[in-house]
């Protein structure tokens, strides 16, 4: 239940901490989702025109912060997104990455998102079409953001790339769909937020399955956390290239912050200090 002040309840916080993910229903209205889809149509058409049609891609991805999708970009600063994140990660947390994705593959094998374990990051995803177990719904293994379970799943080779078979699958005859999990069947407007170390997957996807993501990072305070941020900055250019992201993560019009939004100003200041803007926009690999 989203409260009037957009805060999540103590029970929802406890659920997130226990499971490593949190499902939030009806966060956005059907009218809002129609607007997001409309912007998605236009932007996707222009992005597709820019890329090689022969190139095999997991997805076509572009950053949300761009002038062609003003309504979707405004959701970054919507309290329905950032208030719960500030409850979970701290009031000084920062929205560092936000993308729109149009998937091409039918399968996202089991994986978790980041190699950096020192610093907590949460990804929010909303799908723009209904999802079901056999139709691209995201799946999660509860509590798999924590060890020893996280590493046990790694050792089982649940994360083998497409067209390769991990040892557990090969020996058991099971496939990714058989792995016990929670299945996030959703309607447009639902949002799931998860710790980026939580194992997840999706099966039965289809061409142009659509999602928008809003990724938050806690403010690094310890030397280990600062080192984690440095690792992310060092890997950012590779990540942008590997994912084939089209366009700048931090568009100049967003960086201008024309309405002097104080939260955006803080985010920009931190992102610049930590080296994210240079890394994601211009491929620089060192923190400032």
């Amino acid at each position: 239940m989203i409260q009037d002040n957009y805060r999540i309840s103590d029970q929802e916080i406890a659920l997130y901490k226990s499971f490593g993910f949190l499902v939030r229903r009806n966060v956005f209205t059907p009218e809002e989702m129609a607007k997001v889809n409309e912007e998605f149509d236009h932007r996707r058409a222009s992005v597709v025109a820019e890329i090689d049609p022969e190139e095999e891609r997991i997805f076509t991805q572009w950053p949300t912060r761009n002038p062609e999708t003003p309504f979707t970009a405004s959701l970054l600063e919507d309290p329905r997104i950032y208030v719960p994140m500030e409850q979970l990660l701290g009031e000084d947390s920062v929205l560092f990455q936000s993308n729109c994705n149009s998937y091409s593959w039918d399968v996202q094998n089991w994986h978790y998102d980041v190699g950096v374990t020192e610093i907590e990051m949460i990804k929010n995803v909303m799908y723009l079409q209904p999802t079901t177990a056999n139709n691209g719904a995201l799946r999660f293994i509860p509590g798999s953001n924590r060890n020893p379970l996280r590493d046990e799943l790694t050792n089982m080779q649940l994360a083998k790339p497409r067209d390769e078979i991990g040892v557990f699958y090969e020996a058991s005859g099971l496939s990714g769909e058989d792995i016990p999990c929670f299945i996030f069947e959703s309607q447009p407007g639902d949002v799931v937020a998860w710790n980026e170390l939580t194992w997840h997957a999706a099966f039965g996807g289809y061409k142009d399955r659509r999602s928008c993501t809003f990724n938050f990072i806690q403010h690094p305070k310890t030397s280990k956390q600062r080192a984690g941020v440095q690792d992310m900055v060092a890997g950012a250019a590779h990540s942008v290239k590997a994912q084939g992201t089209v366009g700048l993560q931090y568009h100049p019009t967003w960086l201008e912050n024309p309405n002097n939004n104080s939260r955006r100003a803080r985010w920009i200041k931190n992102l610049d200090e930590w080296g994210f803007i240079d890394a994601y926009n211009y491929g620089k690999t060192e923190t400032k």
């Binding site: 309840s9 103590d10 029970q11 406890a14 659920l15 901490k17 226990s18 499971f19 993910f21 499902v23 999660f140 293994i141 509860p142 509590g143 798999s144 924590r146 020893p148 379970l149 046990e152 799943l153 089982m156 557990f168 020996a171 058991s172 005859g173 099971l174 016990p180 999990c181 929670f182 299945i183």
Partner: protein
């Protein structure tokens, strides 16, 4: 028997769904014996609040076939694979649910190990009373976190924040057909939702023979927990029936189990 991968899967996630473990003719007998037990059962002995549950041991004369399943190598052999050669078969139980839900719970406290085979006698899925589990929640690091969540059925809060209902907790559904078995670690959190008011389930229960000091202390405490459960009407006090303890065929396996049950103080009350 389980493959190495199934054993791995069980210990990783805390449960398995095993298809077609009972044949049609066996199911027919189990259903008939369930009906006899249900007819005989005192209907005033309802337990476990929201579940509106009646339960009784199958280790009695009305259900010899269902009782025999406890010593059937198909099941205790699997229990041995999971918990060692000296695993103990402690009960075969029938359960009738007239409530539409079972609140989230693990069956035992920390360091008590074992597993339960459950056989639902009609088809069940997520929205018709199938067992819902939280995969991996038998692990202490996850279970301890779940204990901090306020659950409406277990520990209701004030009206403005009563806690989460069964269906508000993420789950994996163990859908099953008659003859399938869901085998789960006693420590895994489980529940059910939207069950029919005539839901029937038969279970086989096995305990690991405790080895470590923590396991020994936990099993000793289990008796005390049983008394508490009895007080809270989570189970019915029931000594082991003579039909089973007399061991008329001198089963060495059963003799060993009976000795263990005596040693650990369970003969006067079947462990939950």
């Amino acid at each position: 028997m389980l493959t190495d991968q199934q054993i791995h899967q069980f210990h990783t996630f805390g449960f398995l769904v095993l298809k077609n473990m009972l044949k049609e003719d066996e199911l027919k007998v189990v259903n008939e014996e369930f009906e006899k037990g249900y007819t005989k059962k005192n209907k005033s002995e309802l337990i476990a609040g929201a579940r509106v549950q009646l339960n009784w041991s199958n280790l009695d004369h009305h259900s010899p076939y269902t009782a025999s399943l406890l010593e059937d190598k198909r099941f205790y052999g699997i229990a041995q694979q999971l918990w060692g050669e000296d695993v103990i078969g402690t009960n075969s139980q029938s359960n009738h649910y007239a409530g539409t839900r079972s609140p989230w719970h693990p069956d035992v406290g920390p360091n008590t190990h074992g597993c339960k085979f459950t056989f639902y006698l009609s088809p069940v899925d997520a929205e018709s009373g199938a067992l819902r589990v939280i995969p991996g929640s038998h692990r202490p690091e996850i279970s301890d976190m779940i204990r901090k969540i306020r659950l409406k059925d277990n520990d209701p809060g004030p009206p403005e924040d009563p806690g989460l209902a069964v269906n508000e907790v993420p789950f994996c559904s163990c859908d099953s057909q008659p003859g399938d078995a869901v085998i789960f670690n006693y420590l895994i959190w489980h529940a059910s939702w939207h069950g029919s008011k005539n839901r029937r389930m038969v279970s086989l229960q096995y305990y690991k023979n405790p080895k470590t000091p923590e396991e020994i202390v936990a099993l000793q405490a289990h008796g005390a927990a049983f008394t508490k459960n009895k007080k809270e009407k989570l189970t019915v006090a029931q000594p082991y029936p003579d039909f089973w303890t007399s061991n008329p065929e001198n089963s060495l396996l059963r003799a060993r189990w009976i000795e263990w049950l005596r040693e650990w103080g369970f003969m006067e009350s079947i462990p939950a």
